[in-house]
Symmetry: C2
Subunit: 307 residues, 2 copies
């Protein structure tokens, strides 16, 4: 599987058969459903996860791109049902949380995956260094303010989880303080889930080598200079500390109401497909039909005809 | 031109020639640049504008769809430059204001035109009936709060202009009150433009017949019931009053800093192409290059290599 994923030109009997099936249902190239293959299992050694792997997926890049394109209409349809639900008094929403180090591809996920649905139904928020106003409140204050309203797909580019990531690695709070956040994060997300929001928490895993290559590309391309910050190298140097921080984050805050999905992201095409599938699955799980009319359709037809 | 636009199968010499040119530059099918063909000329009789016309465009529907698709990469590139500009201290932004009666296709413009750019760089806001909190403030309060931050493409689905549209037609304020708003609207927009925002104000023009047909479709299709409100028929009955209100709005608030574009919208493909062109033009007018590095590229390369 790993071999095929690396784009080997050799075709095993299995992948030949899979690809044949895929002509009718490209989703058939998932040997293991992505929600299962990617769901964080407590205690997994994060440092041993291959960021270039493609868990559950037996296809190639071009198969993944075909499936991504094929999913677009369904994703858009599901999102529109959610939006319609919100417009007619429903209380459900979906929140996609994107965590990952610089260059892990969070922005590309927003552009290529979230970009497949109607912008009208998206509430996107990036969380950077807190503003002076934000600092006056607890760290969850700005997060609560950005939660998706009913009917919306919320997208967080970084999130409340930074409180045990950058805050831990850069020692912005004493150990005894940031350690209390694991429990708060879980309680907060349980509350969000209970209010009707389906959480899809994605940790994008980039390898140190790939991160270095992507930083080098930002330096080489003048159209990418604006994305580069000298501080990115400092983060790169702290890679092992971040792995330790992510390990504990995943182990301690992956719950049934708000599971983490660890998505290898060295291959952008895989990460984009995987997140598309996770998002599609979350929307499907809501099982929303079109809201029924709250008016008398025949009577309205008669009124309209009379105009 | 009108004939070709209606999809006649007869091909005039002119359109044959145009289409040949269009194979290399689909934009060549604009006989008159859209910003010129659609810009509101004070005193034009709005009630005489054909909502099924395709001003400036000599192509057919399929040509328009091809051009729309061809514009996507440029639009996305221009929007990314704007976003990069905002991230590096720039103060420019673009605000697309969409006005139009129910069924005029505002939502479709958001989905199909705004949907071509990175959702990360879009600030979309729909203005409905004001909330109790909003009512406690002047009508511009919520609008100011929704203005695009530097680097963003703001999108207003309805706007401050409703203060001389629904407010006028439904007599929500006395005449002497709403009449004062024309001046306020102009002053407000002059201020927004002076702060660095390019305004693209679009009035989508739907004909009464097409509106009736679209309302009937909403009644006929269960997946569109949620978009229907019995009040839509009341608005449909007031069509002539709305035309008068739009006439005065366009005549009195189209300025050099914030011009109105009157876009016939009975043919959705035309309206979508036209707004794409107007938006592309607005972004091009900013003439933004990629922000230069504010760090020493060679030094950073050396630092990165050393990791």
């Amino acid at each position: 599987m790993a071999k095929a994923a690396k784009g080997s030109t050799k075709t095993s009997k299995k992948s030949k058969k899979s690809r044949k099936a895929a002509a009718h249902d490209p989703g058939a190239l998932w040997d293991v459903p992505p929600a299962e293959a990617l769901r964080w299992a407590r205690g997994t050694d994060l440092s041993a996860v291959d960021a270039a792997s493609t868990p559950g997926w037996s296809g190639r890049r071009r198969d993944a791109e075909a499936l991504l394109a094929a999913r677009a209409p369904e994703l858009a349809d599901l999102q529109e049902r959610l939006f319609a639900h919100g417009r007619t008094g429903g209380d459900r929403s979906v929140l996609l949380v994107l965590q990952g180090l610089d260059t892990s591809g969070k922005g590309g996920i927003v552009r290529h995956v979230v970009g497949m649905v109607d912008p009208q139904g998206v509430m996107h928020r990036s969380f950077g260094v807190p503003t002076p106003e934000e600092r006056e409140h607890g760290y969850l204050w700005r997060v609560r303010n950005a939660l998706p309203r009913p009917g919306y797909l919320g997208v967080f580019d970084r999130s409340h989880h930074e409180q045990v990531l950058v805050v831990r690695v850069d020692r912005l709070e004493p150990v005894k303080t940031w350690r209390t956040h694991f429990r708060e994060l879980k309680e907060f997300e349980a509350e969000v889930a209970a209010s009707g929001t389906v959480l899809v928490k994605v940790a994008l895993l980039v390898s140190p080598g790939e991160q270095k290559a992507r930083l080098a590309e930002r330096l080489d391309r003048p159209d990418k200079h604006w994305k580069y910050d000298p501080g990115d190298i400092d983060v790169h140097r702290k890679f092992p500390e971040y792995v330790a921080a992510y390990q504990e984050l995943l182990d301690r805050t992956s719950t049934d109401e708000a599971p983490w999905y660890a998505v290898p992201a060295d291959r952008k095409w895989y990460a984009r497909l995987a997140v598309t599938e996770l998002l599609t699955g979350a929307l499907r799980s809501l099982d929303l039909g079109w809201p029924p009319a709250d008016f008398d359709v025949a009577a309205e037809r008669a009124r309209l005809s009379a105009t």
